[in-house]
């Protein structure tokens, strides 16, 4: 405690000088109790990608202050990525929307209005559209980021109330092809296994996925598995050398769009070298050349005869050789357990469903399925694309509980559950996403509700569809937390509550449903979507004088919107609509999910079973209660999927098919787009977090050094990327990433010069209707040397 006279004088002088000018010098608060600054931690799942990491939000004095992972979490083992760790900063952000904003004409300025006025306007406009132009002139465009309760309630009011199946969502842009693939190959949507297979796999086949950037937490698990077991092989197939390729034992680089040939050539090797599992094939498999055309192994062999590794290598180009294809096929077939992982490189394609089928083919052929570590696993990009949209009825052709719209008996089940007369839900599927925005362009849709997504940035060939959205005769409502490029073209903006500011369920990639309970209050004025829909539906019922619209929300009367209302919606959905379906969630009640920190994997028909964590592997007797209850014989695997009446897995004979647009003399480059680790989707959230924005302030174009040398482009130069649809100007990054003849651009940037979806092509898969974001042709040219760019986040 001793101090010298000199020290004492110094400190005293400094302190009194400071107090004269009215400031405090910083010193440690020793000897003072911590007092009221108590911090509490609230459990939930991450708001961003589809991994479904378990997180805990730190709350102090009613405000979010931190986020952390929890070591015993089954999805992430406590690890988080940067954007996951920082997303809580969106909550108290000054840009948050807190007042409903309205304008009669899209060229006017927004005026602040009250919630009563806002809901009245929304109801009036939708009612007018229905009265004047019929039910099909209204639509809902939702998101894989809405809670399941929100998607479910929206589609209930649209289908049951307004009698239209125009219910779509952005998962159409990201995983519709995976849905198509699972349904056609396995007869049931969503993966058989899950992340638990990563720790048991001996061979990883990662194709069309940059796991390291898009799912960093899962990438860590894959890397850990490989580091701990030196014999584990990682094969990465991608036209671009990505961060994921770094851990690969074998990287297959090929021209974009030739991967169907690669996959068929692998099947060719497996058949020729007799690496297939004969017993598995005879017990569980059918070969299909069309939906009703069954063939046999011999026909499949003949079909593959043309796909010799030599021919395939010549078609695929890149670094491909026949030996590499053989090696890949051998590793795939002979490893103890092979796990395939893919995302948008396979799904966002004109042949997305076919590409999915061909991956499943390899697994069925070799029996690399259903056993520990072996699976064909499509990773999702959004936190609730599986749970909310695929399962909750968020696409135009499916009703809740994986029910196709066109099946009358299934429609009737839903109508009965809702207490509606038979025939209330239209028999025709509604507009799929691209058709919906085409209909907007054509003026067929008069009122559109956009919820929690930004089509003005995320649609391919976006300029074309912007024209429709800017039409004065199309009334658009948007619910969101921040201004986005889409709020530029809407008439009414409704401020919504954010994650952890409301209660609800997210369902991630591996059929896992996790509950996030409200932990902080939304900024004053922002409301949960479930409340918005309920109040809007009531007004709509009055304006259209239709008591059945009111019936959609009748049972939720008087419930407070933070917990009781979503709980009532979840109970209705899980108890009435998933009963007996393959995504049976009856056991996953709010009470159970509150107890189960990691949520529940469906099928989980009873609470008792859900309390064990649910089903890790579907279709396996003893592991999946539905495999037992739906068993047809005494074999260990039972495929009860609703789409395959024969109860078998189908191997499809699918030819190589070219992308819609391939390079030519005028547009000699392939263009592909993707995601960077620090940003998520349209960066309306991550772009507002300074730490993430400075890490990647703007998008750039990646060019192969050989191409760059030919065109005289050096790193940092400004480069124009132009297609038949539009152009961008971006700084160049020259490195051995994309294969020669291909450029790659990130799609998070909102700046009009760097909005790459102006350039991408809006061709779509005829089956899944998912657009081909990943491949189109373009030309590039150097515009200037380096320029200082400023990041751009649209802010109203």
């Amino acid at each position: 405690m001793a101090q010298s006279r000199r020290e004492f004088l110094k400190k005293t002088a400094a302190l009194s000088a400071a107090s004269y000018i009215g400031m405090n010098l910083p010193y440690a608060k020793a000897g003072v109790a911590p007092g009221a600054e108590e911090q509490t931690w609230h459990r939930g799942s991450c708001r961003l990608c589809g991994t479904g990491c378990r997180v805990e939000l730190g709350v102090k004095n009613g405000k979010a202050v931190a986020l952390r992972g929890v070591k015993d979490a089954r999805t992430n083992f406590g690890y988080l990525c940067m954007k996951g760790m920082l997303f809580w900063k969106c909550m108290g952000h000054p840009d948050r929307l807190t007042k409903p904003l309205f304008r009669e004409k899209k060229t006017d300025k927004f005026k602040e209005i009250s919630w009563d006025q806002a809901l009245d306007i929304a109801a009036e406009k939708f009612a007018d559209a229905v009265k004047q132009n019929g039910s099909n002139s209204v639509g809902y465009y939702g998101s894989g980021q809405c809670l399941t309760e929100e998607t479910y309630l929206f589609q209930k009011v649209f289908r049951g109330g307004l009698q239209t199946n125009n219910v779509e969502g952005n998962p159409r842009l990201c995983m519709a092809s995976a849905v198509g693939g699972y349904l056609t190959s396995f007869g049931a949507d969503e993966p058989i296994g899950g992340y638990a297979d990563i720790e048991q796999a001996n061979c990883f086949f990662i194709i069309g996925s940059n796991t390291a950037e898009a799912h960093p937490v899962l990438f860590r698990r894959i890397m850990r598995r490989k580091l701990d077991n030196k014999d584990v092989k990682v094969i990465n197939a991608d036209p671009r050398v990505s961060q994921t390729s770094r851990i690969a034992d074998l990287h297959l680089q090929f021209d974009p769009g030739t991967d169907l040939t690669l996959l068929n050539a692998m099947a060719h090797v497996i058949i020729e070298e007799k690496l297939y599992d004969e017993k598995f094939l005879s017990d569980y498999t059918a070969f299909k050349s069309g939906k009703n055309e069954t063939v046999d192994l011999e026909a499949y062999r003949k079909f593959l005869a043309d796909y010799t590794p030599e021919k395939a290598a010549a078609i695929c180009r890149g670094n491909m050789t026949a030996d590499k294809i053989r090696q890949t096929a051998r590793w795939f077939a002979t490893s103890k357990a092979t796990l395939s992982l893919w995302t948008m490189g396979i799904n966002q394609r004109k042949q997305g469903v076919w590409a999915n089928n061909l991956i499943h083919n390899l697994h069925i052929l070799t029996g690399q399925l259903l056993k520990p570590g072996a699976d064909s696993l499509s990773l999702t990009g959004q936190p609730n694309a599986c749970g909310g949209v695929r399962e909750g009825g968020g696409l135009c052709h499916i009703l809740p509980g994986h029910r196709p719209v066109e099946k009358e008996n299934l429609r009737n089940q839903v109508e009965e559950a809702w207490g509606m007369p038979k025939g209330r839900i239209p028999a025709e599927p509604g507009y799929h996403t691209m058709a919906m925005f085409t209909a907007v362009n054509e003026g067929k849709i008069k009122a559109l509700w956009v919820n929690c997504t930004s089509p003005m940035q995320s649609l391919p060939n976006v300029e074309l569809y912007a024209k429709g959205m800017k039409r004065e005769d199309v009334f658009i409502v948007c619910t969101d937390i921040f201004p986005t490029l889409t709020t530029q073209v809407v008439n009414l903006i409704l401020p919504a509550a954010f994650h952890f500011e409301k209660t609800g369920v997210y369902g991630c990639t591996e059929r896992r449903s996790q509950l996030t309970v409200k932990a902080v209050d939304a900024p004053k004025g922002a409301m949960p979507e479930v409340w918005i829909v309920r109040e809007w539906a009531r007004l709509l019922a009055i304006k259209l004088q239709d008591p059945l619209i009111a019936k959609c929300v009748e049972s939720y009367d008087g419930l407070e919107p933070d917990y009781a209302l979503p709980k009532a919606i979840w109970d209705e959905y899980s108890q009435k609509l998933t009963k007996g379906r393959d995504n049976d969630l009856r056991g996953a009640t709010y009470e159970v999910m509150k107890q189960m920190a990691d949520g529940v994997q469906w099928p989980a028909p009873t609470e008792e079973y859900a309390l064990t964590g649910g089903t890790v592997k579907k279709f396996v007797r003893g592991m999946d209660p539905m495999a037992d209850s739906h068993a047809k014989d005494d074999k260990p695997y039972q495929f009860y999927g609703p789409a395959h009446p024969d109860g078998k897995l189908w191997i499809w004979l699918r030819e190589q098919a070219a992308p819609e647009e391939v390079p030519d003399a005028e547009y000699p480059f392939y263009l592909s787009t993707g995601r960077i680790v620090d940003h998520w989707h349209t960066s309306s959230m991550t772009g507002r977090i300074p730490e993430l924005l400075r890490a990647n302030p703007y998008a750039f174009v990646e060019i192969n050094p050989k191409d760059a040398a030919k065109l005289g482009i050096i790193p940092g130069d400004m480069v124009e990327v132009e297609s038949r649809r539009g152009k961008n100007m971006l700084p160049a990054k020259v490195y051995e990433g994309p294969t020669q003849g291909m450029v790659f651009v990130y799609w998070h940037d909102q700046h009009p010069d760097r909005l790459i979806n102006k350039v991408t092509k809006d061709a779509f898969d005829p089956g899944s209707k998912e657009p081909e974001f990943k491949i189109c042709s373009c030309r590039i040219k150097r515009i200037s040397g380096p320029q200082a760019l400023t990041p751009f986040i649209y802010n109203g």
Partner: protein, 207 residues
């Protein structure tokens, strides 16, 4: 656009005012600060000379404060030091955490005195990135951040990932500061988890 040296005409009266003001100001400071402030080099952690700079020992003597490097820098990374920097006033400095050097190498081409030597990107040694493992999210084993690795212009050479943790390699790091700028972590004293230490600026000149 900085200080226009050629046109600046200082009247006798202004000159005297500035001189008197300066000397009075200096007089008011304690003696050690007075001397230190006037002759202390501004080069420190994350305060770097542009690419190709001669050792700090002779920098102030060789640089003629022409401002061309400042003018040519497309990213406005290079800032001329103001009058508060004593004998170093007018010399160029890069504040790594504010705007780092993007290694476009335009400044070295325009320097008329050879204070910035004409070198290539790879030869640049503005300093060395030093990772503070006590601060870095990855090394603390909580968060999977690879920002420094991602932004590094010499990815896999200057910074590589070992078990997802960044490691800096002295033989390839140019000290451009892009990693420092991008680092999401800022400590209370303003440091980042990865900082540029101007190790090479202290080299002794052999005459």
């Amino acid at each position: 656009m900085g200080w226009n040296w050629t046109r600046a005409k200082v009247k006798r009266r202004d000159f005297l005012q500035i001189t008197v003001g300066l000397s009075t100001g200096l007089f008011l400071l304690p003696a050690p600060v007075r001397a230190g402030k006037f002759f202390a080099s501004p080069v420190a952690r994350n305060r770097l000379r542009p690419p190709g700079a001669v050792p700090e020992e002779i920098f102030a003597g060789k640089c003629i404060r022409c401002g061309r490097c400042v003018e040519v820098c497309p990213y406005k990374s290079i800032v001329p030091l103001d009058i508060g920097n004593g004998v170093y006033a007018g010399t160029p400095l890069v504040y790594a955490e504010t705007v780092p050097c993007y290694l476009c190498m335009k400044c070295v081409a325009v320097c008329p005195t050879g204070t910035l030597r004409k070198i290539s990107q790879q030869e640049t040694r503005m300093g060395l990135a030093v990772l503070n493992r006590q601060l870095c999210h990855n090394w603390q084993d909580q968060i999977l951040c690879r920002t420094c690795y991602d932004v590094c212009p010499f990815k896999n050479q200057a910074i590589s990932l070992e078990e997802l943790r960044p490691v800096v390699h002295e033989e390839a790091c140019t000290g451009c500061g892009i990693c420092t700028h991008a680092c999401p972590l800022t400590a209370e004293n303003g440091d980042k988890a990865i900082n540029i230490e101007p190790l090479y600026a202290g080299a002794r000149v052999q005459w």
